[in-house]
Each structure stands twice: as C-alpha cells, then as structure tokens.
C-alpha cells in the first residue's frame, strides 16, 4: 500500500520501524523526542530543516505550522481508516519495546505511576485520600506520577486509562469501582502495563484488585460511639447501598452493640458521595430523630458540622475530620494508602510485582486506621478501643465474630465463626440493631 504516514505517540510499537523507511512517523507527544517529531513533520511538509522547540513552550509560528500539519494528518488518518489499517493491531504487539525505545537507559529504573480518580482530588474525601498516597509515592526518587481527576465511570474512564497506558505508564491505579470493566478491557490490550483496581473484584494477569478493610476502623469507631451515646440512637449518613458501605455500617453497628447492647443505628441514604447541603440535611434529620452520635460514609464533612451545631457527637471518615467539628469530633475512620502504594511501586521497579491477586489490605498493613480520639472520650473507653486496635494490628480480625444476626434476627454468622471474605464481599444485609433498608 505504499508508504503510510501514521500519527502516533512515541510509545507506538511500530516506532522501531523508523529505521527502515517503510513508515515515516510524526510524533505528537510533548514529552518525547521533539527532534524526531520536527524531522518527521518537515518530511511531511517536504523540507528538511529541523524545528528546535525549546523546553516546553512552543513558538506561535511553529505552533500554527504544527496545527496545519496535524490537520493534514487527520485527513490521512481517515484514509487510513478507510483501508482499515488501524494501528491498534500493532499496538498490542510488544509495548515492552516502548521503554527501550523511549526512555534512555539511565532512566530505565524509573517507574511511571498513573492514577485515575472519580472525583476532584480537592474533595477532602476519598480521592483526596488516594492522592495523599500518590504524593508519598511521588516523593520516591525513582517514581514519576500523574493523575486525571473527576473521570466519569464508563466510556470516558476507559479512554483515559487507555491513554495512560499508551503514554507508557508502568502501573496505573484506577481508584473507583466503576473503573473495573474498563481496567480489565484495557489491561487485555496492554499486557505489559500493570494495573491496580481499587474496590472491585475482577482480576487478570496484569490486574490486581485491592482495597482496605476500612470496616475494621469502622468497628473501632463503633466502639467509641457506642460508649458515648446517651439516647442509644446513633445516626449514619450513608452514600450508596453497596457492600463497601453496608459492611462499614454493620461493623459500626457491631462495635456499638458491644459497648451498648440496646443501642440502634439509624441509616439515611443520600445517593450522593459529596453534596454537603443534602448530607447536612440528612444528618439534621437523624439528629431530629433523636440520634446523638452521627457517623458518615460520605466525603463531605457537612454531617460533622450538623452534629456540632446540634451539640451532638460525630465520627469522621476518610481523614481526620476533627478540624471541622473540634467540639463534637470523637474520632474518624481514616485511609492511609501511602505505605502500600510505596510497596507496590517498589515491587514494580524490582519486577517482583505479581498480577491476578485480590489484595485486601487491613489495619495490619497500616492502610486503615482511626484518628486520635477527642478529649471528650473517657480514658477507659480510649484504652478499651486501643486494646482492640492492637489486636487488629496484630492481624486478628475481630470485627465480625459470630453469633451475628441480621435485622430479622436470623443467624448469619454462626457462633465462634468469623465472617469469610466472600461473606464480606457481597454483604447486602444489615446486622441486628440497624434501622433502615439496603436499597
């Protein structure tokens, strides 16, 4: 078919063919090899002088030239479509070449880590916690990292993940449940790129799913709450009825009931992760219903505010929320991704990274924990809670130990048994003492 002009990034596998002049490539990636790009572009324009593009900024004239060129390329690409020679075929071939090709040898041990977030990183919540993890990783001298925020799950996420893979990221963390299928799809196309999907359940040769046993922290906060409640009614502002959340509520309830057998946990679903106005209202409604401790599985600190204004207690989530309600804040169930992310990228660097795993990190790994308890919590409670915490840190998961009944009072976990991971994974029922529905 003669000589095709294909437009692609340096990580296009057919890069190597630049040597034999079968393909002339136009490299449109800022990061990589501008000179070659200049060369190739001028080929297209039919003269030979090299464009020198000084670090980062592109002079207007040349920019325009690039525009015109890329426009020309578009036309070409459509013709490319027409004869069906889509370069993706080759993409899969051996992306391993990418690193050899792109990255000069002295950078060989560099690990490029990409993160995809479902919400803005500034939301002080879930994505924020992940981004703290990213920052620690970024601090390591052998890691470069980048992220894309508020990526809608579904089609868009797939594209974003794929682009990351193309841009030669070695490991990509996709941190929302909805990214599961896209991650798996893309992973198939980039067998040599490693993927970590958070909070899902699918896995593959180069995909691990991972999560933290936040319910352990929930359990501890439950203990605190149970000890502090006077009205024996506790409120729980919850986002979506999915196992992750329900697990948390159950663990919380279990903790509460251990401290205070006749307390009950009222649940309100907001069907939002982050809508302070609504979530504050929800918390208020719980307070009005007589609850005197408000816990939340919600990214905004609004419920904390509500609790403080009502003179009740509250329990935070994601990170230490004491700053939002110093008078009311008992403790928070917090994420701490740093250590495990570091381990992971190190594994990638050493090549010891293994796929096909479901990693469910626990308090033992330091991924989850609780924030320091507030001054209003009596010493003895503190000690009791800390004791449990130590147990958990020693790897003894004491949260769901039978007998555990569900709302209708029938035994779900027999006496003496512990909940299996399967049971936890698709936990779609409330334990005894929770008031609310799971849909």
């Amino acid at each position: 078919m003669g000589c095709w002009y294909t437009v692609c990034c340096t990580d296009c596998p057919c890069f190597r063919r630049i040597k034999n002049k079968k393909h002339v490539h136009i490299f449109l990636s800022i990061r990589d090899c501008r000179v070659v790009k200049g060369l190739a572009l001028n080929r297209m324009l039919g003269y030979w002088k090299l464009i020198k593009i000084a670090n980062g900024e592109v002079p207007m004239k040349k920019l325009l030239k690039l525009f015109t060129v890329s426009a020309a390329c578009m036309a070409l690409m459509f013709s490319l479509y027409a004869c069906g020679e889509a370069p993706q075929e080759k993409k899969a071939e051996e992306p391993a070449k990418i690193d050899e090709a792109v990255a000069p040898t002295e950078e060989a041990k560099t690990v490029k880590a990409g993160f995809v977030y479902v919400s803005p990183v500034g939301d002080a919540g879930y994505s924020y916690a992940h981004d703290l993890g990213r920052k620690t990783v970024d601090g390591l001298d052998f890691v470069t990292s980048a992220f894309v925020e508020s990526v809608p799950e579904g089609a868009d996420s797939e594209r974003v993940i794929r682009n990351m893979a193309r841009k030669g990221f070695d490991i990509i963390f996709t941190t929302s449940f909805g990214y599961m299928d896209p991650t798996i799809k893309v992973a198939k196309e980039f067998p040599d790129t490693k993927f970590m999907h958070c909070s899902g359940f699918k896995k593959a040769e180069n995909v691990n799913n991972y999560f933290g046993r936040i319910y352990q922290s929930r359990y501890l906060t439950g203990l605190v709450a149970g000890a502090m409640t006077k009205s024996n009614k506790l409120g729980y502002v919850a986002a979506f009825p999915i196992p992750e959340v329900i697990r948390g509520i159950n663990a919380f309830a279990v903790g509460v009931r251990q401290m205070n057998p006749d307390a009950e946990v009222r649940v309100v679903w907001t069907k939002t992760w982050y809508d302070p106005a609504l979530e504050k209202d929800a918390a208020k409604s719980l307070l009005d219903a007589g609850c005197d401790v408000i816990a939340q599985h919600q990214d905004s600190p609004a419920p904390q505010e509500a609790a403080q204004e009502a003179g009740a207690y509250c329990i935070g989530y994601n990170s230490d929320m004491s700053s939002f309600a110093p008078k009311a804040h008992l403790t928070s169930a917090i994420w701490n991704w740093g250590p495990m992310y570091t381990k992971t990228v190190e594994a990638v660097r050493d090549g010891s990274w293994e796929g096909n795993q479901s990693l469910w990190w626990s308090m033992q790994d330091g991924v989850v924990d609780i924030a320091p308890m507030g001054p209003m919590v009596p010493e003895d409670v503190k000690n009791a809670v800390m004791a449990k915490r130590d147990e958990l840190r020693n790897g003894n998961d004491i949260c769901f130990v039978g007998p555990i009944k569900d709302q209708n009072g029938e035994i779900k976990i027999a006496a003496g048994e512990k909940a299996t991971d399967e049971q936890l994974h698709d936990m779609m029922w409330f334990v005894e003492g929770v008031v609310g529905t799971v849909n």
Binding site: P120, D123, W269, K271, D281, A282, S285, P301, V435, T437
Partner: protein, 305 residues
C-alpha cells in the same frame, strides 16, 4: 407528633430560604420581560464568590454582598446577549448555566472541603419565645430572617414605587413604555441585573449558611426549581414564598422519612420534589386563574430607526 413536625418545619424554612431569594430574583427578571434560565449557573458561581470572599476576608457579610455583585455581573452577561444582541433568551439562559457551573467547578477546586466563616443560627430575641412558631421560624441565621423581609420589600417595590411601575410596563409592552418617555432597554437591564443580585444572594445562602464549607455542585438543581416556582407563583412574591417552603418541606420530609426507618426505596423518595413540581404546574394550570405571564416575556425589543 410535634417533636417530629417542628424540626421538620424548621428544616423546611432552612431549605426553602435559598429558593425564596432565587425565585424572587427570577420574578424580578421576568417581570421586566426577560426569561433567565441561567439561575442555576448564577447561583453556583455566586455561592463560590461568597465563600471565597468570606474565606479570605473572614467577613460573611462581605461575602454575602460579593455574591450579590457576582450575580449582577453574570446576569448582565445574559442581559447583554438578550437585550443588546437580541439573542434567544432560552438558549442564552442555558448557556449561562453551563458556563456558570463550569466556571464554578474550575475556580472552586482549591477551596473544596475548606471551611469559611458563615452565618450561624441564633434565637431571635423575644420572637423565638413564641411556642411553636418561635421554634419553626425564629431559631435560624440572619439570612433566613432577612428572607422574611425581602418579599415585602419586593411587593412594595412593584406596588409603591414608580420604578416598579416602569419595570412592569416594560415587561408588558415595551413600546408603550418607550412612548411614555421611558427607556425600555435600560429598564430591562435593570430588571435582569437586580434580579441577578437576588439570585446571587440565594447562592450565598448555600455556601455561607446552609453549609460553611465549599464544594462543587452546591446548588444541586435548586436554580431550576426556582424557575419552576416562578410559574407556580404566577409572578407574585407571596405565592413564591409559599412555593419555596412547600418545596423545601418535601425535600426535608423525604430525608426524615428515611431517618424514621421507612422501607420505601430511597430513589423513589428522592423523586418526590420533582414529581411535586410537575404536579404543582399541572394543578396551577387546571385550577389557577389564567396565568398572567408578562405579555412581552421572552420577546426581545427590536432596535428602531
């Protein structure tokens, strides 16, 4: 019973207040003959401005005013497109919403999750002592109390000031206003911009009183509901207040139903307010008298000579 109802009504007043400001603002705009569907956008951007100012200066009142000004600026954008450039009012409003919301998300990022000084509830002297009413109406923050006054000012403006009369004339028949030596273009600008001010205040309420911390998407569709309420209110302040409370009431009610431990699926409960809006429109169409929209609403003034 009361211990359920009183907090419910109190919450109703709370969540109704931003709607009151926004709806009155929109009524002002439409009385001048301009349809402004940009309420949502204006609210969210002004909420951000309010938060930002009060966050940096530490004075919620400055933030409150700032929000009003921001509302005016954005409304004047709409005014320019529609009144000066004869752009389609429906589409321009939508564009404004898209733009405003986008800008909010763009500029708001660094503030998300931060906490700013705002208006906090206090018992209104004396009045809060009234048995039931006191608990419902007079244990809120300053902006709520202000929202009790605004509708009266509003009424006064249209019934007792010449400017109000002029605005109505422009909304009804710009040509007549022009023939009477008034300047319809200027009057329409006034209506839109001052309306924007009120809408902006509604936005301020969200970020300064409703919550004291910033997040994207604070307005959460309230702007659109305000637009709907205008029709429900037949362009009258009194009915606007009623509508705002009715709507806030339903919102608060469905959350409380959950807190009581109901077994209805929450999605269906969350639908209530929106279904209600449509029902209200249907009812007002069935039983309400002929809906007296300003005669020239939505039509632009063609330049002459």
């Amino acid at each position: 019973m009361w211990e359920f109802l009183i907090p419910l009504f109190a919450a109703t007043v709370q969540s109704g207040t931003p709607l009151i400001y926004a709806t009155l603002g929109e009524i002002m705009t439409e009385r001048g003959g301009v349809l402004n569907l940009g309420v949502e956008g204006i609210m969210s951007i002004s909420a951000l401005v309010a938060f930002w100012i009060s966050f940096t200066t530490g004075s919620p009142w400055l933030g409150f005013l700032g929000a009003g000004l921001a509302g005016m600026v954005f409304a004047s954008l709409h005014a320019f497109v529609c009144i000066s450039c004869l752009g389609n009012q429906v589409v321009s409003g939508l564009a404004l919403t898209i733009f405003g919301v986008g800008l909010t998300h763009y500029l708001g990022v660094p503030y998300v999750g931060l906490h700013a000084p705002g208006f906090t509830p206090f018992d209104f002297p004396l009045l809060s002592q009234i048995p039931v009413l006191g608990d419902v109406f007079f244990k809120h923050d300053m902006l709520v109390y202000l929202s009790f006054v605004v509708p009266f000012l509003f009424w006064f403006f249209f019934k007792r000031t010449s400017l109000g009369l002029h605005v109505v004339a422009t909304g009804e028949m710009p040509a007549a206003a022009a023939a009477a030596g008034l300047r319809p273009i200027a009057l329409r600008y006034f209506a839109v911009v001052s309306g924007g001010f009120l809408i902006g205040l509604g936005g301020a309420y969200l970020s300064l009183a409703y919550t004291h911390l910033w997040t994207n998407g604070l307005s959460g569709g309230r702007g659109w509901i305000a637009v709907a309420l205008v029709i429900f209110a037949f362009w009258r302040p009194g009915r606007a207040v009623a509508g705002a409370y009715l709507f806030g009431g339903v919102m608060a009610f469905q959350l409380r139903l959950q807190a009581m431990g109901t077994h209805l699926p929450s999605s269906l409960l969350l639908m209530l307010p929106y279904i209600l809006t449509i029902l209200v429109l249907i009812l007002s169409a069935c039983f309400g008298r002929r809906i007296e929209a300003p005669a020239a609403l939505g039509t632009n003034i063609e330049p002459e000579g």
